[in-house]
């Protein structure tokens, strides 16, 4: 894919992302109600959440600390900050204003390094409260238009959010995907959020524009309702093409907010700049400025766990893989890298462990329910050639199903033993004799014929043969043919 991300001609795509994440606090940003998803509607409420007359917000210190973790992980400066009121009237916002940060956010001027090394600038990361959840009933597709009534759940109202605003440094849909994945991995690693896009605890808005080299940035559109990493890419690709087509057709891109429709794969106008709200921001008089002390910032910084990039680098070195290989990326993303390393500490083979964990532990969390010592035993069995890769896979399945088990004992119980080379060679010779046609084709260069011969060897050995070894033997025999 080109840097222009499939856009025709020399069009350049410019993307900035605004990511909202729900913080993993016990209580809400400004009250003691639980911050918990999935409870009975309107049960995690109190006078502050309900916006009752006379109620006042009190800032949750833990939320500030998590927001600081986010800022420091994104190489931001953490500074003294204030809260503003963003005034807008909507039924799931009971005070009729959102408490947010405006011109003095907690975190400013950082960057996120993509796995390939590119730095995407972070303009700011600020704290704000979430709104409640509206469910529109009776219309089409859950939209408010045409609905007969709306249900309001205020459990989410007041849940702490951090909005992370990138600079317009992203130049392709792929970079946007990488940015979101990497940000997500960081947020999970530092315990700031569970960052699940599908559940809405991480929400991405994309500011998209296109322009030609040497010209100013184009008019941007903000894309909302992007609910997965995959749709981030799809929505940006669609929107960029739409804008290019408009401009090439002599039309002008209007600055507007657009809604991504996952079903038809298009973006649709939500509101134009003209009917944008005037939020009448002013300093929230019910709160005081927050000035985290140098000591506090240092303490939070020092307590940060290793970030995904560092962990990938470490795992890559320990397993002999590259840091952006699929196995390393996905195992670190799942938080299972420490497990792979533990297998190594127990005398196992980390390279094999990486493969096992990547292949078989997708359903497991960061702490797989299998003793690492058992996996260590299995890697050694395979590395020493005592079982084949296929057999190891079967043993692994057995270990996982039973929550552990001694690999050697399972191998013995299953009658697994890798054939020694001599025994295997005689089986191979026998199969070549039986499958003369296939052998001739293979020797003539028909790669497909190899499959038939290997399959027959496997059958004859009841799967005890090492596939790689069989292939090597066949190639050797082909080369040394009279």
């Amino acid at each position: 894919m080109s840097a222009h991300d499939g856009l025709p001609g020399d069009w350049i795509l410019v993307v900035g992302l605004e990511v909202h994440v729900e913080l993993a606090t016990n209580t809400k940003l400004f009250s003691a109600s639980p911050n918990r998803c999935g409870d009975e509607p309107n049960t995690n409420i109190d006078p502050v959440t309900l916006g009752l007359p006379g109620a006042l917000p009190v800032l949750n210190e833990h939320a500030v600390e998590l927001a600081m973790r986010i800022g420091l992980s994104l190489n931001c400066t953490v500074q003294a900050c204030t809260f503003h009121r963003k005034n807008y009237f909507y039924p799931d916002m009971p005070k009729a204003y959102q408490i947010s940060q405006y011109d003095q956010p907690l975190c400013v001027e950082g960057y996120l390094a993509l796995p390939g090394g590119k730095h995407v600038g972070i303009e700011r990361a600020h704290m704000e409260e979430d709104a409640g959840k509206s469910t529109h009933v009776g219309g089409s597709g859950g939209r408010v238009h045409g609905a007969t009534h709306s249900l309001i759940d205020l459990n989410r109202a007041g849940v702490p959010l951090v909005e992370i605003v990138s600079k317009p440094d992203i130049r392709s849909a792929e970079e946007a995907r990488q940015y979101v994945s990497e940000l997500r991995a960081i947020l999970v690693a530092i315990g700031a959020s569970d960052a699940k896009m599908e559940e809405g605890s991480m929400r991405v808005d994309a500011n998209v524009s296109v322009h030609k080299p040497g010209t100013p940035y184009g008019t941007r559109c903000e894309i909302k309702n992007v609910n997965s990493v995959r749709s981030v890419g799809r929505a940006i690709e669609y929107e960029a093409r739409r804008q290019v087509e408009m401009i090439e057709a002599g039309e002008k891109v209007r600055q507007e907010t657009r809604h991504w429709d996952e079903n038809d794969g298009r973006t649709h106008t939500l509101r134009t700049k003209e009917d944008a709200d005037d939020y009448r921001y002013f300093l929230e008089p019910d709160l005081v400025p927050v000035a985290p002390s140098h000591e506090w910032i240092q303490r939070v910084h020092a307590a940060l766990p290793p970030l995904p990039a560092q962990r990938r680098e470490h795992l890559a070195v320990m397993t002999g893989q590259s840091a952006d290989s699929e196995a390393v990326m996905s195992v670190v993303e799942r938080g299972q890298d420490h497990y792979v390393l533990a297998v190594g500490h127990l005398g196992g083979d980390t390279a094999r462990a990486l493969v096992y964990v990547k292949e078989a532990f997708a359903d497991q969390g960061p702490d797989p329910a299998v003793p690492a010592i058992d996996i260590a035993g299995l890697t050694n069995l395979e590395v020493e050639g005592k079982v084949t890769a296929t057999q190891a896979k079967a043993i692994l399945a057995d270990i996982i199903a039973n929550g552990g088990g001694d690999a050697a004992a399972i191998a013995a119980a299953k009658g697994f033993e890798a054939l020694d080379t001599g025994a295997l060679e005689s089986v191979v010779d026998q199969v070549i004799a039986e499958q003369a046609d296939a052998w001739a084709k293979f020797c003539a260069g028909d790669g497909k014929a190899m499959g038939a011969i290997v399959g027959a060897v496997m059958k004859a050995t009841q799967g005890k043969a090492d596939g790689k070894l069989v292939t090597a033997l066949l190639n050797q025999k082909k080369a040394s043919r009279p």
């Binding site: 006078p47 007359p53 006379g54 109620a55 006042l56 009190v58 005034n87 009448r280 008089p285 709160l287």
Partner: protein, 471 residues
């Protein structure tokens, strides 16, 4: 009898709290509609509280520092299960599910919350004529206003309906009615008393304070209701020294400031009483010094941008959905409109519009932004003045109580009532009105004592000295 004496008698068992309460209730009943101090009398709750105090005394338990003291609450303070209306139709029928911090503090102190007092709707006004439930009348002359917006609380104390009352002061709403009703009224330093449970008008200016018949009573009330509240982020964290303890310290050596560039407009009778006050303090050993507070004169205009701006935000939540009034209409948007149309009075609507405009894109810098700069100037000018003087003395109100209806058609004339009180709120400083004799028509005149942030002890020393000079 001061409330300290009442508390002592109740604690000793010499007088029953229940007896004192029933006396007050009878007095309220005798002038209920004539004065209209109350929106709601909490007869049952108050009786139960009084009985509980007497039972505690009988058991030998400590009934609290305000045992048996009857308190009237401005009807913008949330009382659990008891209607809280802000004298607005929009909140009619709402019973808060929680007590504000001052209310729960009073309860645990043994005070008897006797009722909810009338006010200008959402505390917007200076006469208590602006109530959706009709005006309160001044107990000293029922053709006249009690001042506002805490007119019901001032009238309650002036008429003896309650020993004390609480009000809220955003631009003078405690001090001005105190002056017009001849009682003591204190607006403490912003953050001295928790605002949790006070229905917001202008959050950066609102402050709760007491109405009492004596300076000593006010000191005791503030000693009880003052202090840090973790539920109010703007409440001052450090502990306050006792004000009761400083009352006898006199003014010897204190510098009393006279603001030479004070905006004109005070009536001669009011001005005359202020001069008598200066003389009295001088006679007690204070020095009178001339100071200037140039930005004082801009207070009113800055206030009428900042307070409405905050109000426009604070009042946007009243939409008929969750509590209070709902006027049914064809669809939700029409319901919002109809509810607000019927629920808010003219003055409230006027200020919501003013405030919305002042904060709007394109106008913010010229209006709200400039008002904030003026606020800063006022603060700085006061700070300079307080380097030369320990307290400042001004009139509280430009005039004695005026007749009901006399300013009805002229909002600006009404706004001018608060010329001398507003700058204090903008600076966040304390101020109090001390009744100081009478002026025209034999009506009371109040003298205002102003001081710097957390200088309540000095302010109370001066107030107590003024009070003594009249005895």
């Amino acid at each position: 009898m001061g409330i300290a004496e009442t508390v002592a008698q109740v604690k000793s068992g010499a007088v029953k709290a229940d007896f004192l309460f029933e006396q007050k209730l009878a007095l309220i009943a005798s002038r209920y509609t004539e004065i209209h101090a109350f929106n709601h009398v909490m007869a049952d709750e108050a009786r139960a509280a009084a009985v509980a105090v007497d039972e505690a005394v009988a058991r030998g338990d400590d009934p609290g520092p305000l045992a048996g003291v009857t308190v009237a609450l401005k009807d913008n303070m949330c009382t659990r299960g008891v209607p809280t209306t802000c004298s607005s139709k929009i909140l009619e029928g709402w019973r808060p599910p929680y007590d504000g911090t001052v209310v729960s503090t009073l309860k645990t102190s043994g005070a008897i919350a006797i009722g909810k007092t009338n006010l200008d709707e959402f505390a917007m006004g200076s006469s208590t004529e602006n109530s959706a439930f009709g005006p309160t009348r001044n107990p000293l002359d029922t053709n006249r206003v009690p001042g506002g917006s805490s007119g019901g609380s001032a009238a309650s104390v002036a008429a003896g309906f309650s020993d004390v009352a609480l009000g809220s002061d955003t631009g003078g709403s405690i001090r001005q009615p105190a002056a017009l009703c001849g009682v003591v009224g204190v607006k403490p330093t912003y953050g001295y008393v928790s605002r949790y449970g006070l229905v917001a008008f202008a959050s950066s200016l609102d402050q709760i304070g007491p109405f009492t018949t004596s300076v000593a009573d006010a000191a005791l009330m503030l000693d009880v209701i003052g202090g840090h509240d973790p539920l109010d982020s703007t409440s001052i964290p450090q502990a306050h020294p006792s004000l009761v303890d400083v009352l006898g310290q006199g003014v010897e050596g204190l510098r009393i400031g006279r603001i030479t560039d004070l905006p004109e407009g005070a009536d001669p009778d009011v001005q005359e009483r202020l001069e008598v006050a200066f003389d009295a303090l001088r006679a007690q050993g204070a020095t009178i010094v001339d100071v200037q507070v140039p930005a004082f004169t801009f207070g009113l205009t800055a206030y009428y941008l900042i307070a409405p701006a905050e109000a426009s935000s604070n009042l946007a939540r009243y939409d008929g959905v969750r509590y209070g009034l709902r006027v049914e209409a064809a669809d939700t948007n029409a319901m919002y409109g109809a509810t607000r149309e019927a629920g808010f009075g003219d003055e409230v609507k006027r200020r919501i519009m003013l405030g919305t405009y002042a904060l709007s894109a394109g106008y913010y810098d010229a209006y709200y932004g400039k008002a904030l700069k003026v606020r800063r100037l006022i603060h700085d000018d006061f700070d300079r003045a307080y380097q030369q003087a320990d307290v400042l003395l001004t009139p509280t109100s430009p005039s004695v109580a005026f007749e009901i209806g006399s300013k009805g058609d002229n909002p600006l004339a009404m706004y001018l009532c608060d010329t001398y009180t507003i700058p204090t709120n903008l600076a966040g400083h304390p101020g109090m009105s001390v009744p100081y004799g009478t002026g025209a028509h034999g009506l009371p005149v109040g003298v205002q004592v102003l001081a710097g942030t957390l200088q309540e002890p000095t302010m109370f020393r001066v107030a107590a000295s003024l009070e003594r000079s009249l005895a």
